[in-house]
Symmetry: C2
Subunit: 200 residues, 2 copies
Amino acid sequence: MKDSSTEQTILNAAITIFEKKGMAGARMQEIADEAKINKAMLHYYFRNKQQLFEAVLMSAFQKLAPQMNIIFALEIDLYEKIRRFSSSYIDFILENPYLPSFIIHELNHNPDFVTKIMSHPNKPDPKPLLRQIEAEIEAGKIKRKSPKQLVLNLLSLTIFPFVGETLLKLVLDIPDSEYKKILQERKTLIAEQFISSISV
Amino acid sequence: MKDSSTEQTILNAAITIFEKKGMAGARMQEIADEAKINKAMLHYYFRNKQQLFEAVLMSAFQKLAPQMNIIFALEIDLYEKIRRFSSSYIDFILENPYLPSFIIHELNHNPDFVTKIMSHPNKPDPKPLLRQIEAEIEAGKIKRKSPKQLVLNLLSLTIFPFVGETLLKLVLDIPDSEYKKILQERKTLIAEQFISSISV
DNA sequence: AAATGGTTTAACCAAATGGTTAACAAATGT
DNA sequence: ACATTTGTTAACCATTTGGTTAAACCATTT
């Protein structure tokens, strides 16, 4: 009988290669080598490069989505939520360093794909969080600022240091070792900074 | 005699294509078509794809660098500097929407290139700004926070909404028209938020 | 006007690349 | 045991792609 995980083996190899090189830069042979498997198997299981790629992008999004849902759905105090999110999200990216860059880059270059994900079952729904922020504003607990802008800020502060790592290290003259420390510091720093900018 | 701008015509076409598709996704023929010119001319002027690409990446960096230097070098009040930077930088990216994503993506995928830019004459130097922040801290005018973290925050808040546009619109459920407004709002909002988070 | 030297073009080439095929092996069902 | 389906492989194929070449073009010099 076949090793029942051949399909998964291929998918894992494809994830590794696609995340590192992107759709355009990845070679089918390279993925086959990574999976230690014959190239024809890629086509046997996934028909062609485009479909294999879509499976990878989907799987990447499925990894990311639950992390987003932490801030969106969880019913806890807003400040606590912000602290938990930035910390857990940074840990998550440290374990999946290519994920955000990959998703962002490929989403930018495959706008058609956005439609496909729109109807995705696990698609994060930001409404609960936005409502929570509005409620806090109405209750006079935080400053009156556009909830969407606030979430945009939080995501920017958390994700960009990873996506723009090379540019930031270059421009700010930060060596690799120090950058790692800086990212760790941000696990608490982001929440502090963010909360201090919204609390009345 | 040659049209003395042929080289520039090629470079412009290459910028257009490379910024849109990246190094791996761009085709030499496509660049030639964009320039309305024979493909062999690309090799006549730039030898090969790699060198043409490097010229494009260099030119992109040369466009970006002066925008960075606004916050780094200009000798004005810190708050004023922050206001001016976020506003002018957003305007700048709106006119060059592919620039940051392109540079970030390609820098991440060509780490060797980082070395080349390191010794670039126009390379932004963050030291003056970092010193300015330290001085303000010592003078008790702003909260004591790591200057590098602060600059990282400012850059994240400003650049990420562009780089992650597609993902953010998708995840936060923001239609295109509204997103444009949001970016405009950020021209003043970022500085407000940022300043309120550091002022004592 | 002939020679010169840089510029431009069409045709060509070799390698890389996504994809197919046909034969073979391993399970599975009867 | 045998036939059928499923999984796997090596060899092959067509197209794309980066890059080359040799001849033509054209402005300036002699």
